[in-house]
């Protein structure tokens, strides 16, 4: 007997929803329910499954198993328009408004109804209908304004107004999904948003996702905490304490030697390798950090913290406005990735498929891409030398491939990543390695191999900067953790082997 028959107030029920990607479990038998006029909070780390769950509810992702029931009826949501028909709408994290048309047009996009007669727009009706939606949340934005002239907060309200249109079209109360709506808002704007959410609750049900626990606690009636694709717990915010939530988010599982902590050097490295001094650029400002020889330094931070921008800037792939970077004492001019490579810096980007590898080239060609001069004699390629070098690394890194000439696109994710990593290991010149989410999308075995490689590299003197997928990874792997928030470095937490900090200490700074 479904819960809706027991409790007619339940508008949305998710049962045992699961979703796997190659090598990764995104959702693992997730079950939750939402009651009418309730605000449900979803909390969890990056990668815990919050976004995947929302995308499954709105039809952007098809679950492998499990069911979704809306008001007691099982539904199969095929796409966003389908979700709207069932009363589910989402305000996306990356805004989904067309910038060069008016707010009113965006609100009524795809469902202009009476505002368009015989293919002709009736502007007054359009305005009226759009205004009705905006009034529901008390938004004072001019519906005729061109969307790109609005501030981020105003655009968000337009998106909410757009989602509320579901009510008119389906004559049921909508279920509204808010995906990280506050991460780029100013504090005053956050207050306004919370006011709107209270208004929303009068004729809708809301699922509110945020990494900011204080907000989630304030706004929600109940909070589900996700961890590793599973529901770690359900919490009543009026009675819970933030640290309880932290525990649920991060867990206390014993990781065994997954992170090869036994290889972490007991005496902390002390000779500085790369020193960043008051660096400002696109997305970060006044950052001063350093990484020592043989050290692994992690930077922790949420979306918008600026850590990815900093990492790219250190590789010459971002904008540096002011400040200085020195490597082994000499100042660097990081104008392009080429200059960074020449200085001995390597970078493994987060988006492996698009930015890391060239799928159409072979394993060997990809591996030698950055240091092609190592396999050349003069201007000509030395295929024998390449074969030797590449084969050696294939063996060393245990890369599973039919041959060195196989197209890289055919290998599995873990092996692809190893090839991309190997790119920077050829020759002797590597001094600094910037790793941007290096284990993303890899299964447990592949991750462990990468961690082992990182340990060995560090112990041979390479300075490693790590942007980790999870806080657990960051703490376990690093000697120190810098925390970035809103473009600035807010603290530095030591993480020596045997005396690792509690994740709670760091999460506090991140949010």
């Amino acid at each position: 007997m479904s819960e809706a028959q027991i409790d007619p107030r339940i508008v949305l029920e998710v049962r045992d929803l699961s979703k796997r990607y190659p090598g990764v479990v995104a959702l693992d038998r997730v079950s939750l329910h939402v009651k009418r006029h309730e605000v449900i909070g979803l909390a969890g780390e990056n990668g815990a499954g919050k976004s995947t769950l929302l995308k499954a509810l709105v039809g952007l992702v098809q679950p492998d198993s499990g069911s979704i029931e809306v008001r007691g009826t099982p539904v199969h949501v095929q796409n966003v328009a389908d979700a709207a028909r069932h009363g589910i709408g989402m305000v996306f994290q990356e805004q989904s408004l067309v910038p060069n048309i008016s707010a009113a047009e965006n609100i009524l996009l795809g469902c202009e109804g009476r505002a368009v007669r015989a293919g002709i727009f009736r502007t007054r009706t359009l305005r009226r209908l759009a205004q009705a939606q905006l009034d529901k949340i008390g938004c004072t934005v001019d519906p005729g304004a061109r969307t790109e002239t609005l501030t981020f907060a105003e655009r968000q309200m337009v998106e909410i107004a757009k989602v509320l249109g579901i009510e008119e079209r389906t004559s049921v109360e909508p279920i509204i999904l808010l995906d990280e709506p506050t991460s780029v808002l100013e504090p005053e704007e956050v207050e306004i948003l919370f006011g709107q959410i209270q208004r929303l609750r009068e004729h809708a049900s809301v699922i509110f996702v945020s990494h900011r626990l204080d907000e989630v606690m304030r706004v929600s009636d109940r909070v589900y905490v996700l961890r590793g694709g599973q529901v770690a717990g359900e919490v009543d915010p009026s009675r819970a304490v933030p640290s309880q939530l932290h525990e649920l988010m991060i867990g206390t599982a014993d990781t065994g030697n997954h992170y090869h902590e036994d290889l972490q050097a007991r005496t902390p490295p002390h000779r500085p390798r790369i020193v960043v001094d008051s660096l400002s650029g696109d997305g970060f400002h006044d950052v001063s950090i350093d990484v020592r020889q043989g050290e692994i330094v992690a930077i922790a931070g949420v979306h918008g913290s600026g850590r990815e921008d900093l990492c790219r800037a250190l590789f010459g792939a971002g904008q540096i406005i002011s400040g200085e970077v020195t490597l082994d004492g000499s100042s660097l001019s990081l104008t392009s990735p080429r200059s960074a490579v020449a200085a001995g810096i390597g970078y493994v980007p987060a988006e492996r498929k698009v930015e890391g590898m060239v799928p159409v080239l072979s394993v060997a060609q990809n591996m030698t891409l950055a240091r092609t001069e190592l396999v050349c004699r003069g201007p000509l390629l030395d295929h024998r030398r390449e074969a030797q070098l590449v084969d050696a690394w294939i063996e060393r890194l245990n890369i599973r491939t039919p041959s060195r000439n196989t197209g890289l696109g055919r290998l599995s994710g873990g092996n692809q990543q190893k090839v991309v990593l190997a790119r920077w290991l050829l020759g002797d010149g590597l001094k600094v390695l910037l790793l941007d989410h290096p284990t993303r999308g890899l299964d447990v075995g592949a991750k462990s191999e990468v961690y082992l490689l990182m340990r060995n590299l560090a112990n041979s003197g390479v300075a490693i900067l790590l942007l980790a997928d999870s806080l657990e990874e960051a703490i376990a792997m690093s000697d120190r953790v810098f925390v970035m928030n809103d473009g600035e470095v807010v603290s530095c937490v030591p993480s020596p082997p045997g005396a690792k900090p509690e994740p709670i200490e760091i999460v506090r700074e991140m949010v």
């Binding site: 960074a340 930015e355 890391g356 590898m357 799928p359 050349c376 599995s412």
Partner: protein, 336 residues
């Protein structure tokens, strides 16, 4: 295989269940790779059936000879397409080259040839620079270039044909070696071989492929993206210049619109040969095959008795079909 004296950095834990994907022999990609060869053979067979004299050595040589300037013209542009761009200016640049050559032969003699090829290379270089520095899409830069070169040719020549005064300067490009083999074929093959060898024996080939297929990845691997693109455009210009020289050699004059009508056949040669406009895949030898196919189609039309007016329709259709077939669709999510 070198055995390293350092212990393996990564132990085989056996935990990873990842295996590389099995590769079926007849993938779509392999089939498409062979498409030009199949088309060539099929067309040759069809033409022989229609006219048995087609397969005679003399007629075959004539066919390849007439395809040579087209192949030369399209060769450099092929490298640009492999880098992910397009060069629409090659035809009018060849026309401009023909005008310059006819004008400069009286004073420079045979030295006019390297001079005009040099000018054409510079023209390509300038277009490449504008594309790279100002980040203007290559098809706009070369569309503009196309117009500028056409205008220049018209102005310099006074909109009239300029006869070649001293054919000695270009005879070598339109003679028969050993009385049998047309020199234009040899020259074109030499150029294509040179380009192909450079691409294969130096890192250039893989760099071009990387840039064409995944420019972000190429950039983040530290590749000299700007330099490679500039070289491609310069090469395209030089090949267009050389094509102009070949044309002057056989028409004994330079004219402001001499090669203009070759743009479409050149683009057709590139795409029919199998070079993908999405970048990464392709090669200059494929363009040679494409040029032969395009020329055979043209010959075929007249053999079958179809009006040459239909050529244009044919080019348009095969360009569309060839591109539709060779595009890498996984790369293009929204087509613009």
């Amino acid at each position: 295989m070198v055995h390293t004296d350092v212990t393996p950095l990564v132990k085989d834990e056996g935990a990873s269940s990842e295996r590389p994907a099995r590769s079926p022999v007849f993938t779509r990609a392999r089939l498409l790779s062979l498409m030009p060869i199949v088309a060539m053979v099929g067309l040759a067979a069809a033409l022989t059936v229609a006219n048995p004299r087609f397969i005679e050595p003399r007629s075959l040589v004539a066919l390849v000879d007439s395809a040579a300037p087209l192949a030369m013209l399209a060769a450099g542009a092929t490298v640009v397409v492999m880098c992910g761009g397009i060069d629409l200016s090659i035809a009018t640049l060849a026309s401009l080259t023909s005008v310059l050559l006819a004008l400069w032969v009286p004073t420079l003699g045979i030295g006019a040839v390297p001079a005009v090829v040099g000018v054409a290379a510079v023209a390509g270089f300038i277009q490449g620079t504008i594309h790279v520095v100002f980040r203007i899409p290559s098809f706009i830069v070369t569309l503009g270039g196309m117009t500028v070169f056409s205008a220049a040719a018209l102005v310099i020549s006074g909109a009239s044909t300029i006869p070649l005064v001293d054919t000695g300067a270009t005879d070598w490009a339109f003679t028969r070696i050993g009385g049998q083999v047309p020199s234009s074929i040899v020259i074109t093959l030499l150029a294509i071989t040179l380009i192909s060898l450079v691409m294969r024996l130096t890192p250039a080939g893989r760099w071009v492929s990387a840039i064409g297929y995944s420019e972000p990845a190429a950039r983040l691997a530290g590749l000299p993206v700007a330099a490679v693109k500039l070289t491609a455009f310069t090469l395209s210009g030089a090949c267009a210049g050389m094509a102009g020289v070949l044309l002057v050699a056989r028409t004994f004059s330079g004219a402001p619109a001499l090669a203009d009508s070759l743009l479409l056949p050149a683009v057709a040669a590139i795409v029919v040969g199998g070079t993908a406009i999405t970048g990464g895949h392709g090669g200059v030898w494929r363009t040679v095959a494409g040029a032969l196919i395009v020329t055979m189609l043209r010959v075929g039309l007249s053999v079958v008795g179809v009006d040459s007016a239909y050529e244009s329709i044919l080019y348009g259709t095969i360009i569309i079909i060839a591109v539709a077939l060779t595009m890498d669709r996984s790369k293009v999510s929204t087509v613009k």
